[in-house]
């Protein structure tokens, strides 16, 4: 298992390295932004550009880029949005809102989603099951920004329960801040709940029809005991990895939700970097999103391997 894990991690790092290199070269091939000579920070930015080897071959530039990252985690300075500021520092200030919003959303969607899934599976082929399943399908299909519109229109505008936009400021653990995060949290939740419900229901209905469930009942367990001790365990083989995957995914957030609710997070930063063509920020967020995506699939793979030794993808044995 250790060898398998190590293999997966190394492979993911290789993939990450290649993607970073490709994106880096593609970004550097773009004509650099003209600098504003009137601003005092321009000398800093120009000096940084020189130090990063702007006129050297791309591979040399990439070498300098890697060296800067490995020696002092330096991703360059912002050339447009936060003129002259360290990209990493800007990035770090944007992390907490994104993570909090997604964390709150995940925390309450997991129990609700799994609960609904179990409920539907136990009532299989009843009216409740059909209702839940169809609703799940519908909910998954509707993109999150439609929910965001609904939440914003009804809860923020019509009922005025929540503010339209998330509060700015750095005090993330105050009550007003929490309330102002709720619309974004809610909008993100519908799809996640439906996702968990669907996975749980599909897996549990299959497990419940297995022979070992019958055996568990014949040896004298009640239905509840059999379900919790035998069915749930097997069902979790699939559900747990997807929970781990979602936990990694909470870091990346959603650009659309962040834009609609004015969450000062990473999605918004990326979007602004794209529209303002701030390449250094864009490069950092690109690496970040790539790493998150790869890490999520890595965690899913490895946790599958841990939970269920039958599926060790890519392992020779």
């Amino acid at each position: 298992m250790f060898k398998y894990t190590l293999q997966r991690i190394l492979y993911m790092m290789l993939v990450f390295f290649i993607i970073t290199m490709m994106c880096f070269i593609l970004v550097r091939m773009l004509p650099p932004l003209p600098l504003d000579p009137m601003r005092p920070e321009t000398t800093v930015v120009a000096a940084r550009r020189e130090a990063m080897g702007y006129n050297k071959p791309y591979l040399v530039q990439f070498g300098i880029f890697l060296k800067n990252i490995f020696t002092d985690f330096n991703w360059g300075v912002s050339e447009k949005l936060y003129y002259g500021q360290e990209v990493v520092k800007v990035f770090v200030t944007k992390m907490p809102p994104t993570m909090l919003v997604n964390l709150y959303s995940i925390l309450w969607t997991i129990p609700v989603g799994i609960g609904l899934g179990i409920f539907a599976a136990l009532k299989k082929n009843s009216l409740i099951d059909y209702g839940i399943s169809t609703l799940t399908m519908v909910t998954i299909s509707v993109p999150s920004f439609v929910y965001a519109f609904l939440v914003q229109y009804f809860f923020s505008y019509k009922l005025s329960w929540f503010p339209f936009l998330m509060n700015s400021g750095e005090e993330y653990f105050t009550w007003p801040m929490f309330v102002s995060m709720l619309p974004a949290v809610l909008s993100l939740s519908f799809g996640t709940i439906a996702g968990f419900t669907r996975t749980t229901r599909a897996e549990l209905t299959e497990v419940l029809t297995s022979d070992f469930m019958l055996l568990a009942r014949t040896k004298g367990l009640t239905k509840a005991q059999a379900t919790i001790r035998h069915a749930m365990k097997n069902c979790m083989v699939v559900v747990l990895p997807s929970i781990f995957g979602s936990f990694i995914g909470i870091l990346s957030g959603s650009m659309i939700i962040e834009r609609i609710f004015g969450v000062p997070g990473i999605g918004g930063l990326t979007l602004n970097a794209i529209n303002g063509r701030d390449y250094n920020i864009f490069m950092l967020t690109t690496c970040f999103y790539t790493a998150i995506g790869l890490a999520a699939s890595l965690v899913v793979d490895i946790s599958y391997g841990f939970i269920d030794p039958r599926i060790r993808m890519g392992s020779k044995k």
Binding site: V138, P143, F149, I260, T290
Partner: protein, 513 residues
Amino acid sequence: MKNMEFVESISQEQFQFVQKDAQLRDHKLETKARGYIGDAFVRFRKNKSSVIAAWVLLFLLVYAFLAPIVSPYTLDDTDGVYYNAPAFIPAIAKLNLGIMDGSRTLPSQTQDSLNAWRGIAEETGYDPVLGIVDTRVETILYRGQEVERTTYTIETNRYYEPGVMYRTMSYEEFEKVQQWQNETGIQVIYPYVDPEDINGISDMPNVWYKCDNKGTPKLDKDGNLVPVYSTRTHKAGAEYNSLRIEGDDGSYVYSTAVSGAVKVRVCYYNYYQYKNGMEPTYLFGTDIVGRDLFSAIGKGARFSILFAICVSAINLSLGAVYGAIQGYYGGVIDMALDRVSDILSGVPFTVVATLFQFHLVLTGKASALEAFLFAFVLTGWIGMAALTRKLFYRFKSQEFVMAARTLGASDARLMFKHIFPNGLGTIITSCALVIPGVIGSETSLTYLGIVDLNAMVGCTLGTLLSSGQASMTTAPHAMLWPSVYFALLMICFNLFGNGLRDAFNPSMRGVED
């Protein structure tokens, strides 16, 4: 034993031969044989939600293709006054059903503003006020004294609200409007009101009565508005030989001169009819630039659907070939190709789309649409390739393949003639699930403004949603209809696709209970 005795007791005459003359042969099967497609269709029909989704989907598709044709407006018909206006169809509005009447709710209106609305109603004959929803009496502090003030929440017709507006037009156009008035008998031009008669107010075209310097009407003792139309003929812009309003003895002036043109007061509702040849008719209302939402949604959706079909067709063929090579040859080739697709699938789609926009569009090498298409094609085929690869692994070691190989079939023939058709159903039905995915990402990216297709296709669902969201509180309909259409499209495509996939999956045969 007892039975035997019973049988023996039956006399011989009572027996007779069965089928003595008849020949025994199999009956011909009277039911029709069911093919693969027919079988799938039967299974599809059992899935009620998919069938409903299929019908709704058909309706949505028909809408997308017909709406821009049926609608009297094109995307270029924007209106600077009737923007963000709610649904309005004159014929239905006249029935007073409370729908399609262009109504919106305006809170905190005072008695003075009610008089102003009345002014518009009396002059143009179109009463903007549909009804008073709520009356509220509150005591407020005004200059140190407590004053009771009544405010009203009223429902107004957004299309009658503008009332009369100033328009500066050339002499020829002024002539043309007069001619049109004579032909149709609809009053567009209303008598001019000189600012000098209304306390120097020059930015309130709807004031035609005696008022104070804020435009608040001064009523006469019967509570009527007192007209102050201009009779200063020396200020007239051009001759006027057309319809005159009621109460005009021929002395009213209908225009004033401004540097080489005339400035007139036009009733916007009628001016609109003059310009467009019809009354404003908007089934879904208008968007933020005054476009007909009915046709704009159709246009945006039509683009999205065609684009998605195009993308999935390309990805389907690319992915099928790639996956076929991977699955058929296996081993080192499979591994090498797998690494390539691993790397490509690791790049977030937003990044791919952005880089394509940066590299191709900003440098002018390709249009936004082409760059967008490339972005979808670059990573979109990976799912399809994985699916094909799996199918090939399943089929390639089966007997029929070996038989074909023994007969000397080439690799390409084996791949695409013998193995591929077996998985065709699965592959094609998975397309029905790829299409909503493409529509979803296309809409997200145009919504975020990362990809700007407006110059190419006029509008997309994403841009409609984005502008609708901006005016959510004042014009909820501009957000509602695109969202409803989009959500329905996604739901139906997904339900339909799922049903199709299950129906074409032979392992599902007979499982349903």
